[in-house]
Symmetry: C2
Subunit: 341 residues, 2 copies
């Protein structure tokens, strides 16, 4: 399956000093790319005897009807809902699905991409590992087989990407708190600043700015692992402050549940004294009392849409234009932030 004599998009990009995405879009006659660039790319591609994916794909004699999926962590609740969606949609179209895990490790991710190609899967759905710094192995895979990114994505890969808008989702959560009268809203986020954490934090900041609420660094708390335990610990820290917050936005349900437990132990009235909002609508969000206001991430829908687009690309007679598809989230208001009684 190695194609040593076949020129890649990457090589064309390097030669011309432009991005791979530019080369891809130039070859696909994208309106954003200038006529000049298009001509340069087309000319070099012809000279180097570049075979576009479309034809490369045609060479693949053996159709296996199998879709390969690689996720960072197979045990994650949200991931399992995405996998459900992928499997159901694949089933409808007569495809089987095999799943593998990168253990959030870039090297393992590259190995699994290689394995999937060796297996002859017809297409790959990939959610990037947290440690992905170089996307080289992903770009190489994209030369061999239709590939689509979902959830944890990178703009460096010129392919269709299915995501939720974390920033907008966080904005709506914090806006809801402001609209219920809260003025001093703490956030519990991640120290490491993964893509998701960063976007949620930006949404938090935008909401405060939009409503002219001063940003107070002392109530912006971080933890390496956003667990229930750390949610408790950081909330205890907030409760020890002279001027306490009147709301807590935690970027995971686990941390939000920890916050509620800490508040209850200190006999704080939720939501009257301090309201709490989480993120992800996990099973536990309706187990805790008061029930948790949270962001529903429609994992199932992400899976369905990702599988749909991949299958479309796998069966297309011409190469399709890469798209970014944003799946809408919903704020689910429950007793932890709004109690009409």
């Amino acid at each position: 399956m190695t194609k040593k004599n076949v020129i890649t998009l990457k090589e064309i990009a390097k030669e011309l000093g432009v991005s791979i995405s530019t080369v891809s879009r130039a070859l696909n006659d994208h309106p954003d790319i200038s006529v000049e660039t298009k001509e340069k790319v087309a000319s070099l591609a012809k000279n180097l005897n570049y075979i576009p994916n479309l034809f490369a794909k045609g060479f693949r004699a053996h159709k296996t009807n199998i879709i390969g999926v690689i996720v960072p962590d197979i045990g994650h609740y949200f991931t399992s809902t995405v996998l459900k969606g992928i499997m159901r949609e694949a089933e409808i179209h007569g495809y089987k699905v095999i799943v593998s895990e990168s253990i959030n490790n870039e090297k393992r991710q590259a190995e699994m991409l290689q394995t999937m190609i060796q297996f002859g899967v017809d297409g790959i759905l990939l959610s990037l590992s947290r440690t992905t710094i170089s996307v080289d192995s992903v770009l190489k895979t994209l030369e061999n087989v239709p590939l689509l990114l979902f959830d944890k994505v990178s703009l460096k890969v010129p392919c269709t990407q299915v995501i939720i808008d974390d920033e907008e989702a966080a904005f709506s959560a914090v806006e809801h708190l402001i609209q219920t009268g809260k003025k001093r809203i703490a956030i519990i986020k991640e120290t490491e600043d993964s893509y998701n954490s960063k976007m949620r934090y930006l949404g938090y900041l935008r909401a405060l700015r939009t409503y002219n609420i001063e940003i107070d660094e002392s109530i912006i708390l971080s933890s390496e692992n956003i667990s229930m335990q750390n949610g408790k610990r950081l909330t205890n820290q907030l409760l020890s402050m002279k001027v306490k917050p009147d709301a807590i936005f935690a970027i995971t349900d686990s941390a939000a549940i920890g916050a509620i437990k800490s508040l209850k132990r200190s006999k704080i009235k939720i939501p009257q004294q301090i309201a709490v909002v989480g993120f992800s609508n996990s099973n536990s969000s309706i187990v805790i009392e008061p029930k948790l206001t949270t962001i529903d991430q429609p994992g199932n829908k992400i899976g369905v849409v990702a599988a749909q687009y991949l299958i479309k690309e796998m069966n297309a007679t011409t190469q399709l234009e890469p798209k970014t598809i944003v799946i809408k989230t919903n704020l689910i208001v429950r007793d932890s932030s709004f109690n009409p009684n």
Copy 2:
């Protein structure tokens, strides 16, 4: 990979009118099998030119270092903990893992076994789909590649099986309730009587009999789907009875959490008036208040042990004797059944 001219264990068993397991054990010189039977099997195997797995395996030229896993439902919390264990152990030994789902469907399970064989996996870990009636496709797979069953198993397949003892686990849960002074213990179980539900019910019955507690049909309740919602509903039903139970054993944490919610709504003191015990030690079991007493199913350990044994079989120079390995569960006592205050 089809071996039309190769005789199988199944054919020998059919010819002699004995079980496949008997043939397998006879060929492996198992002490339970009579000398007479061993001679009959050995003689027929020789006449029919039977090639044991061991040699068949030797013919497999291409080692892929991949283990295939098939589970009924990839989104199940317990399953994800087993997968974690499998992946970690495989990683240590230099194997990659691909996972697929049977969607609890026998036909899909057979297809996925076929797919795994086509892929050339070095070994397969299988948890049977709920609807498995015929194990023919599993037996056929076992002729081609080392295979091991875990969690949802069948005695009809002569291979190593890794299980937890559901009956014993349920016994210990109910025994604990009896030892804390409870005398009228209700059970919430499954209508359909899956293997797990049946075993847990048998453990419940054995505990009552062991302690001379009369079995009362009116507090043995079933539901098709053992959800939180149905746990609530069935508990409301128990609360409407003239003589209420003093404890509830639910065969899932979800149903147990539903029970706690219903009891709290009716201002019943937990555990003083009615104690509650669940099964599986899910994340939610420490979210609910009071925290739930439950059975910890060591999914991770099941995965580790299953992967260990499979790898051992894959690398054995002689065929190993099939074993049944029982992984111990632990009763985790929390506030829902025992409150020292």
